[in-house]
């Protein structure tokens, strides 16, 4: 009998737990530890942030589902990691602290045979002075509560515009090393369309601000893609969309301070500038949770497990951009020091960025961090679960399932406006996610055909279909496993 503990119930944690439960017999225990009571389908938060979906439509409570499916659940947060146990506990364990109910504040040692760290990122708002959702006219769509607040702020602004007030809207990244440009890209296009729907578009100046060197970088170094009968660069495609929607852009911008209605940033030229706004949605930087780890003698071994995020089977040797390769990227997401610990999704420490690193003339790093959200999170979580299942069933370590981001395709179905007949979507697929410049030297490291873009109503329908399909899958309804990650 094995006990598998899954930390986190986001996309990677929930995917791992559900596959483990489906494929392992009841004699094996699957336990999820998460401070969150609800599962949320994060990609639909942008629609909550424009008031076209309620947060209830994108979430459901975890406890009843887990009870029904015989998955253990503790609403608690991880505090410290003890992969060798300690003087009183022989088994490896995670110290967790309950966050609600009678046990709130109580700590407990949760032992495990296998540990999956699916804790995702810490939304590191404090890394940017003054960036705090709901204050200084800044908002976020990173969680459903943030998205609810964003809609309240936007709705109030729309009412002011209807009264004749001219406004400025700023959307993008709120830190020099932020990631998740895709979410901000979706939000800016949705906001723009909503302003047109409310007939106040002419009252707002909309500006994109980002740490990307070029539009369409998305933390993936941009891409060369097929678009209809043409082959174009992603920055050309996104420029075309922004020109069409009359959206201005500021690039290479590391936002470093927020004051009420003023964003301070440094650009790659080393200039310190400001941008004023009446409403801003800025994605914060992501960081690890700052977990500590200890060996059985209580010595600090944090550097064996964490490098900000969790250390896995990546090549972390520092080297210049020209020497980066897809082989640097992890394949099994297994910690090299403790083979029964895995970190799929955003929880693993990437070996380096995907985009070419750039510094301002003052030496400030202004480079998008690599994205691992959504689909890669689901795929890596499933392969980790499959390897653990094989290991348990075979009685010896099995790492047969592999999934490097350098040998994995991804789809980014970006909403560009909500509406059954008036909506729009920008559908972009990339293969592979991390460009392989040796395999595809003439096409910017990616396979044309499998890397393509499409704009239109069908993209919106596809995004909406994925919303319903993935919530169905997450609820573990009949034949849920037939829907791929």
């Amino acid at each position: 009998m094995a006990k598998i503990v899954v930390l986190g119930a986001g996309i990677s944690g929930h995917v791992a737990a559900s596959h483990l439960r489906r494929k392992l017999s009841r004699e094996h225990e699957v336990l999820v530890v998460s401070p969150n009571s609800n599962y949320q389908w994060i990609p639909s938060n942008i629609w909550v942030g424009i008031g076209r979906m309620s947060s209830k439509q994108i979430l459901f409570p975890l406890e009843p589902l887990y009870k029904k499916k015989h998955i253990g659940y503790k609403q608690a947060k991880a505090v410290t990691f003890h992969p060798e146990g300690d003087k009183t506990e022989a088994k490896p364990y995670v110290l967790v602290e309950y966050v609600v109910g009678d046990k709130k504040g109580q700590q407990e040692k949760v032992t495990y045979d296998y540990l999956i760290n699916g804790t995702g990122p810490k939304l590191n708002f404090e890394a940017t002075e003054g960036l705090n959702p709901g204050t200084n006219k800044t908002y976020s769509v990173c969680t459903y509560t943030h998205a609810d607040h964003a809609w309240e702020g936007l709705h109030a602004l729309i009412q002011e515009m209807k009264q004749g007030k001219k406004t400025k809207i700023l959307i993008g990244t709120g830190h020099a090393k932020a990631t998740c440009q895709g979410a901000a890209f979706e939000y800016i296009l949705n906001v723009e369309q909503e302003l047109r729907r409310h007939k106040v578009r002419d009252m707002a100046e909309i500006t994109w601000i980002s740490n990307e060197y070029q539009l369409g970088d998305f933390g993936m170094d941009g891409m060369l893609l097929s678009y209809g009968s043409m082959t174009m660069k992603s920055h050309e495609m996104i420029e075309m969309i922004f020109e069409d929607r009359d959206i201005k852009w500021i690039l290479g911008a590391g936002v470093n301070k927020i004051e009420d209605g003023v964003a301070h940033y440094e650009n790659l030229e080393g200039e310190y500038k400001t941008e004023t706004y009446d409403f801003a949605m800025l994605i914060p930087s992501f960081s690890g949770h700052g977990f500590k780890a200890f060996d059985k003698n209580e010595n600090d071994i944090t550097d064996k497990l964490f490098k900000g995020f969790m250390i896995v089977d990546a090549d972390y040797t520092p080297k210049p951009y020209e020497e980066w390769s897809v082989q640097d990227w992890p394949e099994t997401y297994q910690n090299p020091s403790y083979k029964n610990i895995f970190a799929p999704g955003i929880a693993f420490a990437p070996p380096h960025s995907i985009s070419k690193p750039r510094k301002s003339k003052n030496g400030t790093d202004i480079t998008p961090a690599p994205p691992r959200t959504g689909m890669p999170s689901g795929i890596t979580a499933k392969l980790v679960a499959d390897n653990i299942i094989d290991t348990i069933k075979n009685g010896k370590e099995s790492l047969h399932h592999k999934g490097s981001m350098g040998n994995m395709g991804a789809a980014c179905i970006a909403s560009a406006g909500y509406g059954l007949t008036s909506g729009s979507g920008v559908s972009i697929t990339t293969y592979p996610i991390v460009p392989d410049y040796h395999k595809y030297p003439k096409t910017q490291g990616r396979q044309l055909g499998k890397t393509f873009g499409e704009i239109g109503l069908a993209g919106h329908w596809l995004k909406l279909a994925l919303h319903y399909a993935f919530i169905y899958k997450a609820k573990m309804r009949p034949f849920w496993w037939l829907i791929p990650e």
């Binding site: 082989q327 689909m375 795929i379 490097s404 007949t421 393509f452 239109g456 279909a465």
Partner: protein
């Protein structure tokens, strides 16, 4: 110079009938790319 979306392109992008077929095409194409498998990169035959 930045490409512009022409009126004809916009018509095609927003026409529900054309987009219905595009939706089917996109769904299949995305499924093939995404579910088409993944693997390692360190052992190249």
């Amino acid at each position: 110079m930045t490409q512009r979306i022409s009126k004809y392109q916009r018509f095609k992008m927003m026409n529900p009938i054309l987009q219905f077929f595009k939706f089917i095409y996109l769904s299949i194409k995305v499924l093939i790319i995404v579910a088409g498998g993944h693997g390692g990169t360190r052992q190249v035959n």
